[in-house]
Symmetry: C2
Subunit: 149 residues, 2 copies
Amino acid sequence: MKKVEITAKGTNYAATNIGLLNELSQHVFTLAPGIDIPGRVFIGNDLGNTGSEVSFVTTPAGLGGDFLHTHKTNEEVYIVLSGNGQFQVDGEFFDISEGSVVRVSQNGKRAYKNTGNTDLVMICIQTKADSLKDLGITDGVILEEPVKW
Amino acid sequence: MKKVEITAKGTNYAATNIGLLNELSQHVFTLAPGIDIPGRVFIGNDLGNTGSEVSFVTTPAGLGGDFLHTHKTNEEVYIVLSGNGQFQVDGEFFDISEGSVVRVSQNGKRAYKNTGNTDLVMICIQTKADSLKDLGITDGVILEEPVKW
């Protein structure tokens, strides 16, 4: 099992490097005693996230799709980095591939499976539904002080 | 300018495909009249996100790092998909590369630049700071009803 190691940290930030994104099966997430999931990496606790859980999901060819799940209060956004798969929400089906981005509300009954010949690699972002009102760039503040490198 | 087109949509979900992740410079984000930013793609409004803004950032070789910025209320998480760069927060510097994940609190004075010879491709996740208390898998509910494909 490869650990998420913090590589830089300060008052207002923390950073890690989890490795090459097509080699994430070196990480193993222990769901319960005896139930290990290779390729699943959660970084929220290690980085000290307060607004999102971000995880990486590697599903080998021929796998996935074993169960449906919903969420109590969280919205999910899935981003496909590589591979091919099929996704379902509430009994509606659609294909996913590199560049696919999927938002699922907490009540959506969802599942996904790998339908290709290579790993299906995705990022999964969990956030509290209805927690963010101002999308886009309106929250950012560009500073007048010069940037130094 | 390439548009974000919704490819699947239902009561509890929406999906798009923004294209190959090393070709995002085909997208152009208009920051203000006359100020176009190639390679920046925001998907929150199009997908109907309620808990996060998710954007893709492509910074060509030799570019980036022109200004510092903070946020009013949002935490950011950056994920590096490819390329090499340098990141700074509050005057502290660290390198970033494929697999780097960086959390920055709203008050962190941040900037990044491409220090490599290829595009620096990142995902940027904005969420309301302190909005998510339960990280990990505790919010998920695995359903007993069988999954059909």
